[in-house]
């Protein structure tokens, strides 16, 4: 069966046409027959104009969360280098209006961490004081649900941005850093805080300087609770965060630090914690050293003021300035530049990235004082990336987001819960990694036999119906907007079909329905590798 003939309906009018005269001309050439109803053969087949190179599609798959008509059009218009510069330094993204409105609502509905952390203990106390029974259970449940709702809203914001932001690279990098500085929503009060963590600690610094990113996560109450530094005080050392800060966040496990360094850094970090309510009463000489910013607190009364020796350098005991000095020292280590470069390259380039590329990125990191945008530019324009295109297995997040971007290009989904369900099913829910190491970046962790069959099931779920993506987000009855997507759309014929492998082509040719065709395409190696 020839899928072209069977399923190539005329492109629906709702597909947004990318701007740009050259492109419009190209589209016009390609789709010239579309004004006439129902051409049996796709018109482009007659137009012998090579529109897009396979490498460009694959490159775009890497830079974005998955191609859509807009990104394809823009890359077409600008070329890789200018496209990338726009992604790195471009203007703030314009979301589709309904998404922009929803994002604004989500942010407006989010409470301030300082307020949450001040209120919650009181609330718990109130509930604990209630007499045992149904009322108490109900109050406890209501409080839990409020926290769960906030975490879900944070995930909703993340997914809407991933699907609809024109700043696709930024969104991918935000996801990368959220995973690099991973926090788990089910620890302590984190469900109330993860939205703020993404928007205030990660997002503003995602393309900035690495040191600022480290400091922003260090000071955020989500991280302070997740890795217990809020319990780290002089005489009551908790090394958890100090260790992970070097092992997972900056230097890497073989980054040249010792257990001694972990202990010393933990001493530097004493007193860095969470403050709510009024400032503590402090000795006069400490009053100037006290810091408070939102829920972040540096409390000199909990700080170890002795001198420390970290990575061979003496840090004079003097308060929070030590933390700044220690972080500066750590991020200037060549080990840090190498570790961060390698991690980025593992996510964007290859599971085992070429050493030459990592070396160049390491140099760029050191030369630019950890300028993440420069690092990305170096990496994404590198010939090593070009050589590695087509070989990176999409992790569940990339798989799910790219599927939705592709299947519902030009439409605005209203409900992200199906996406979260799919991510849960595939084991990569946002803020769902229990361990501080974040989700794995390599194929090995995602392509086990069980995971492949699960992925195919989800491919079927996405390809066979709208799965509730167009239902209202609250629990009102489904509002319709159903029907399966048309993956054999113009985007497919322009940017995907010309480069399909023989396996996928054969499978698509055997499809008995549009739903089956969609499923096979989403399950194909061609769609699952980028």
């Amino acid at each position: 069966m020839d899928p072209h003939r069977t399923f190539n309906a005329p492109p629906p009018a709702r597909v947004r046409l990318p701007a740009g005269a050259a492109l419009v001309t190209a589209w016009a050439l390609l789709t010239g027959g579309c004004a006439n109803p129902g051409p049996k053969q796709p018109v482009y087949a007659a137009a012998a104009l090579p529109v897009f190179h396979r490498q460009d599609t694959l490159w775009l798959e890497r830079v974005t969360f998955g191609i859509d008509a807009e990104s394809v059009g823009e890359l077409h218009r600008l070329g890789r280098e200018r496209y990338l510069d726009r992604q790195l330094r471009g203007p703030a993204p314009a979301f589709p209006a309904p998404v922009a409105a929803e994002l604004a609502n989500l942010v407006a509905a989010r409470p301030e961490p300082a307020q949450v952390l001040a209120d919650l203990p009181t609330e718990y106390k109130r509930i604990n004081a209630m007499p045992d029974g149904a009322g108490k259970e109900q109050a406890r449940k209501a409080l839990n649900e409020a926290g769960g709702k906030l975490a879900n809203q944070a995930i909703r914001e993340l997914l809407l941005r991933a699907v609809y932001s024109p700043s696709q690279l930024d969104e991918q990098v935000v996801w990368f850093w959220l995973n690099h500085f991973s926090v788990h929503q089910y620890k302590a009060n984190l469900r109330w805080l993860v939205g703020d963590y993404a928007d205030r600690a990660i997002r503003p610094h995602a393309l900035g300087h690495f040191k600022d990113l480290v400091l922003a996560t260090l000071e955020h109450p989500a991280m302070l609770q997740y890795l217990d530094n809020n319990q780290n005080a002089a005489g009551h050392i908790n090394e958890n965060y100090a260790r992970e800060l070097m092992e997972l966040h900056t230097l890497g496990v073989h980054g040249g630090y010792t257990q001694q360094d972990v202990q010393q850094l933990a001493r530097v970090l004493t007193g860095v914690g969470i403050g709510t309510g009024s400032a503590p009463k402090l000795k006069r000489e400490w009053q100037n050293l006290y810091r408070r910013d939102g829920a972040f607190e540096f409390n000199p009364a909990r700080h170890d003021f002795g001198d420390k020796v970290l990575l061979g350098h003496t840090i004079k005991g003097r308060g929070f300035e030590e933390v700044d000095e220690a972080v500066s020292l750590i991020v200037r280590q060549p080990a840090c530049a190498r570790f961060i470069s390698r991690e980025l390259a593992r996510y964007f380039v290859a599971d085992d990235p070429p050493q030459r590329l990592v070396d160049r990125m390491t140099q760029t990191f050191m030369r630019s004082d950890g300028d993440i945008a420069q690092l990305l530019r170096e990496m994404l324009l590198a010939p090593e990336l070009d050589a590695a295109l087509g070989g990176k297995f999409k992790d569940p997040m990339r798989f799910v987001v790219s599927s939705v971007r592709f299947a519902y290009d030009g439409r605005t989904i209203s409900n992200t819960r199906p996406m979260l369900n799919w991510l849960n099913g595939l084991g990569e829910a946002p803020f769902g990694r229990a361990t501080p190491d974040g989700y794995p970046l390599t194929e090995l962790a995602w392509a086990s036999s069980g995971q492949m069959s699960r992925r195919f099931e989800i491919a079927r779920a996405i390809g066979s119906g709208s799965a509730g993506l167009f239902d209202a987000e609250d629990d009102t009855p489904p509002g319709g907007g159903g029907g399966f997507p048309q993956l054999s759309n113009r985007l497919y014929y322009e940017a995907v079909e010309p480069f399909l492998g023989a396996g996928a082509k054969a499978a698509l040719a055997h499809a008995n329905s549009q739903q089956e065709w969609n499923t096979f395409l989403l399950a194909s190696p061609d769609f699952n590798y980028e």
């Binding site: 045992d132 229990a434 086990s448 036999s449 069980g450």
Partner: protein, 401 residues
Amino acid sequence: MKRRHALQLGFAALLGAAHPEAGLFAAPPAGPRFLLVFLRGGYDSTNFLIPYASDFYYESRPNIAIARPDPASTTSALALNGDWALAPAVRETIGALYLKRQAAFIPFAGTDDLSRSHFETQDSIELGQPSGAARNYRSGFLGRLAQTLGGTAPQADPIAFTDALPLAFEGTSSVPNLSLKNIGKAPFDERQARILSDMYAGHHLETAVRDGLDLRQEVAQKIAQEMLSASRSAVNGKGFELEAERMARLMRDKYRVGFVDVGGWDTHVGEGASQGALAANLASLGRGLQVFAQTLGTEWDNTVVVVISEFGRTFRENGNRGTDHGHGSVYWVLGGSVRGGTVAGEQRSVSRANLLQDRDFPVLNDYRAVLGGLFRSLWGLSAIQCDAVFPQIRPLDLKLI
């Protein structure tokens, strides 16, 4: 079928190459099976294995203690010896296995991780690495076990009956994982599965794709068999029992090292006593494991099941008729050939003075030493192999296998 045949041939060839003495015609030996059941949430082992001789137990749990065994009642706790009794909720299931000497319990078991944090402790147990050292999240003890076994004989065939691959299985390549909890019929018919498989012909994921689709079909078929044999009383299509029957069918036919986790044990509030939340969960678990044993049939003699949890709970009940995070737990060892009918391992009398931090049970039997000892007996591991699974641990021989 064809593929399995090919697999066996492959194994035989591998064996022949690595161990000429094994002979080319050696069929996969009837090696042992091992299933690890992880009770996530820290189950209240003190109301499972009840220290009924201790007055302190009854003082500490005025609302949730389980009454002393009553020889006149078949629904009371089952006395195992002079110190311990088994929860009535599992009397008919795990208790019956104990009486057949197919079950043993190890109190004061657990880890030296004192964080009393679910995640911390679950992780450290699943990783099974030396305490104090930096953690490698890419290396779990079942992964190391599978690798160790796979290096010498085709006995490993691991499987995780979970949605995601558990940390315990990290570090070995391609462990099939499939949760059997809410599994429906096969999503693809044979034609579709073949088309999907063919799409990956020649691709390096070819095997994973085919295995995954096959396993999914296999499971679907087993579910269909269940439907057909629905008259049998064992299958009533509920929760863990159903899951356990499916696990047993898969392990009987193919898999040798299994992992499953069961949740719902974090009983801070309204735990209940001989009846209630914990009892219901224990009863379901007990029935499931009984079904597991029955379904394996004669292969039950070749199988060992170990039930563990990240920690025990506070010895005293809290203000909400529940219990909070504690330390020492009770592990179970079940199997047709287990030398059961015993409460094993180092023990202390149950008294306030013997509590850890006046709060919970101490750990006298380190889980790595316990499991290492079991693995050693089960597969005849050498000291080097034991050390590969649980580095720097002296395996404990509890003489259960």
